[in-house]
Structure formats: C-alpha cells, structure tokens
Symmetry: C2
Subunit: 316 residues, 2 copies
C-alpha cells in the first residue's frame, strides 16, 4: 500500500503517558525519538500541553506540560526528519504558554475535542495556526456522535477552521470496519479541503484493522504507538502499520529493536493491551475508565460481574 | 449482525492443543465444553484424529487422537446443544479408527488440507460423509495459494466433494481485509452449493477483523477460540465474536467466567497471542514454526536479527 501522501504519526509517549501520569524519563523518550527518526516516522507526539494553573507539576511527569526546554533536551543531537507534535485539550491549555512556532521545537499542535466543543476547538486551532503551527482537530468519542451534530461540526470545520487534518478518534475502541468506512466517507464528503486522520483504540483488537480500512478509503494521517502502548487497551501497533505500508521510506527494524530493548521490559511494569474488561467496554461503547478502575481493584479478573454492572442502568 | 445461518465454531482445545501437545486434562476440557454449551456456541472441536501407528500416545495428550470413549467422558452429564467436531490431517488419519456416526459422539469431521492435496482431501471427506458425519474441507495456508490452482481445487470441491463447508484458513495470519474479501468472493463465485468458513490467525491482530470481513460478505461458519488460545499468535477471540454478533441465542457471560477462572491462569503457564516474532512471520507470509523455535531459545526477544534472518534467503 504505497501512497506518498500517507503520514505515519506516532503518539507513543503522549497516549502512553495516560498509563503512567506522563512520567517517562528522558533516556526512554530519547530512545523512542531516535528509533522513530531512524524508522522514517513522520510525526512524534510527545505529550500534552496542559496549564500548570490547572495541574501541578508535582503530581505529573513533564510530558503533561511539554515545556519547549524539555523537548529540546530530547531531540538534541539526534539526526531526524520526524516532526514534533503536542496535544492540547479544550479548556485545559493556557494559550500564552505557546510561543510562536519560530521560537519552538514543536511543529504541530493537535486539539482534542468532543463534537459539542467545536467552537472552542476552532478558536484554539486558528490561534495556533496563526502562530505558525500545523494543526489538527481530533474528534474524540466518535462512536457516540449523533449524525446531525457531527454533520454540523464537520461543516464548521471545513468552513471556519484552519486545521490541516481532521481526525476520527475511536476513543472507546467500538468501531469495526463498516462503521469506520461509513465515518471516513462522511468526513470526506464534507471536508473537501482537509486531510482525514484515524486514531484507533484496540479494545476489540480492531485498531489496526480499522486503520487499514481508513487507508483503503484514502485516509492519509495514521496514528499508531510502539507495541500498541496507550491507555487501557492501547492503540494501533506502529510496527504492524509500518509492516503493512510498502513505502520504502519506512524501516521497521529500529522499531523492532526499540520493542526488544525498551517495551518488553516496560510491559512487565505497566499494563496495557488486550484485556477482557477493556474488550467489554469496547463492545458496549463505554469509556474505559470503569475498566481501568476495575483493574486497580481486587476484582480485576471478575469479568462477568463487571459486564453485568455495565448492563444494569435503567435509563428509560 | 443477526443472521440465522451463522454458526460459531469453537476450536479452543483443538488449536490450543498445538501449544501443549494436546495435553489438556479432562476437568479443563469439561469446563470449556460446559461454558460453550451455556453460551450457545454451535460447534466445539476437541482435537485431532491421528493414527496411533504414526504418533505414540506416550508422547502426546489424548486430544491428538480423540478416541470416542475419551470424548464421551467429557460430554457426559452436561446439557448441551453444542455439536462435537474433530479434525483430521491428510495422510495422518487411519480411516478405520472412525466408526459410523451412529456409534460415535462426534458430529462433524473437518479435513485440513493444502491446495495440492485436494484429491486426498476429497477422498477423506466423502468417506466420512458416507459414514454419516457432517464434513468440511479446511484449505490451509491460503495466503500462498496460486490463483489458478485454487480455482481448480474449488471447482473440484464444488463438483466432487460432499463437504458441507469449505474453509478459508489463514494459517500464517497474513491476510488483511481486502485479501479476505477477495478470497471470500472467489470462493462464493465457485462454491454455489456450499457454505464458506473462515479460520483466521492473529499474527497481525487481524483475526477478528478478517472474520468480521467474512461475515460482511456472507460467510456463515466462523471459527474462534476462547481468549484467542491457539498456536503461536492464536486465533480470533471467541468472546469478541460473540460480543459482535447480535444473535440472541448467544450469551457471552459463561465465556467471561471461563476466561476468568481458567484462561487467565493458563496464560501464566502457556504462551500465545500477539508477540512480535509471530507478527513478523505474519507480515512476511511465513509459517510460524521459525518464530516458535525462536521463542524457545535464548534469543527469544531478539526481533531484528530474527526479521533479518527471514529476509536473507537468495532464491532467484
């Protein structure tokens, strides 16, 4: 599947940071950056840009804040064409923290937003675009978006928003390939001047399959993480994505070394991947937080009770 | 995805037996049978029917031979509508070991065969069909079948073979959904009087995705294994398949209990699932045996060297 426009976007440290309060040490992050650079990966997302007025640096690792100086220490001395991205959440970023692009090692800023927060997301994107950054909007929890609201939000993005890419984010790992195809076609029918991105979660072992489905339907921005590291069930494994793409600019071998040397040991200390409670929240289209709480309790392997607890709400 | 004709086919003990020389104890196998029965799974494949002249019962567990008396001990006293299947390999079965269906607890016999062994497979299938069994042919290593040979083999199956179902078997875990779709359409274009089956391996985390793709294109026999247990990367996880199918006859809860009680502890002792060397053989369309050997060596985490060793053959 060679298509020159395809961009492989790694978010190992950013999404993986949700597993450990963004507390990766510099040696580890440099190893990731070096391997991604050697592998020819187009972008590396290194963390969130959160306001220190809202979150204390005492409680989190540095990749929850992504100070430019901290990023400089990671990339220093490593030959690379890999661009650096940071993510911001609506209502959590202090825009004064973001310097003009010319003064920053950051190339891209991705704004994560629910459909309902479209106006806030567009404000942020346009602000960062005006400062010189590449920008995206990542529409979270897409499996719960009502079609009419999504249509309106996409119309606004097409007409009012300077983002280069609009992402489909399957936050709950609920999509399968028919729904992924439906969403891609919907996005493409409205977003005539934007690229589309796919950020998939692996609750049902469909993150890679849904990403392939997106590729088939001409999505060009593809998120993955090394060894699938990421919150809960994790993400589309970057090594599989690179193994699938036949673009000669990519080399899987530095990623294989990185997994051998860093991620196999890490997996002994940190839990992510295909675990039944995450599969259950994916099947039921639920946020993984209840499953994460379960995994931190003594009932961590009590799957039936957990499943039934999610069925139990009388709503009417 | 409710379609009445869909049959869910569990091969946990059969394919899982390839991980432990078919040496599951009766208590475990009964627990699997009971859970599958309660979950409404249509078939359970319990092992292989191999000739004791070729393999010694001293060297293998009983599910490499599947004596009727051993099967009787498993199913005795458990209320069930789940049918029992055994698999035979071309050239490894002694057909005299197979009694007429009326005298046996076995309902179905599946014949595993490469494309080249089509005539032997048809002979076996017709022999077992004449003895009263439901039968299938499972075409292994489909990702390496040459199109013209596959066409001829399918023509023969349609015209000369009494099998009820012809299976696509992605032995190497190489397919992705476009190739799965291509093969399903090819099978359906020739096999007008047969059902099609899908047996997927999970080297690239695509077993469930490819099985969904098969469902979308009207494949009705769907293989899975509990928690994905199976040789090397394992199989399509049965719990995901049941979670996806909206047929009210299935109940995921007994499978969740089974995983909690039996498969989480088993995974501590037995290795299967998404492991990089199996991903590599899947990406490169290779038999997993080299990766299995690697996992039993001191180089088990040396992924780059393994990858390069598979690239290294000069063929010309």
């Amino acid at each position: 599947m060679f298509r020159e426009k395809i961009k492989v976007f790694d978010c190992t440290i950013r999404d993986g940071g949700l597993c450990n309060n963004h507390d990766f040490d510099d040696r580890f992050v440099r190893a990731v950056y070096k391997a991604l650079s050697e592998a020819g990966v187009d972008y590396m997302e290194i963390g969130y840009k959160n306001s220190k007025k809202l979150f204390s640096p005492k409680d989190f690792g540095k990749w929850k804040f992504c100070d430019d100086a901290d990023i400089e220490k990671i990339i220093e001395g490593i030959e690379s064409k890999t661009k650096i991205s940071v993510m911001v959440d609506v209502d959590r970023v202090d825009i004064e923290d973001v310097k003009p692009k010319k003064e920053s090692p950051v190339d891209m800023i991705r704004v994560a937003s629910y459909v309902k927060d479209i106006d806030k997301a567009i404000f942020l994107v346009n602000h960062f675009a005006d400062k010189g950054y590449e920008t995206t909007v990542n529409i979270m929890a897409i499996s719960r978006a009502l079609d009419n609201e999504l249509t309106e939000a996409l119309d606004q993005r097409e007409n009012e928003c300077k983002a280069k890419v609009i992402y489909i984010v399957d936050s709950f790992g609920e999509l399968y390939q028919e729904t992924a195809e439906f969403l891609v076609k919907k996005f493409k029918s409205i977003l005539k001047t934007k690229e589309i991105g796919m950020h998939a979660h692996n609750n049902q072992q469909l993150a890679f399959g849904n990403t392939i489905e997106a590729i088939i339907h001409n999505v060009n921005f593809l998120d993955g993480t090394v060894y699938g590291l990421g919150r809960a069930a994790g993400n589309c494994p970057l090594e599989l994505l690179i193994g699938f793409l036949k673009n000669p600019k990519f080399d899987i071998r530095p990623i294989l070394d990185l997994i051998s040397n860093e991620f196999v040991p890490l997996r002994e200390k940190l839990e992510w991947g295909y675990i039944i409670p995450y599969a259950i929240t994916g099947i039921l289209d639920e946020h993984p937080k209840s499953a994460i709480a379960l995994r931190n309790s003594i009932k961590k392997e009590n799957y039936r009770e957990f499943y039934e607890s999610l069925l139990g709400d009388d709503l009417d």
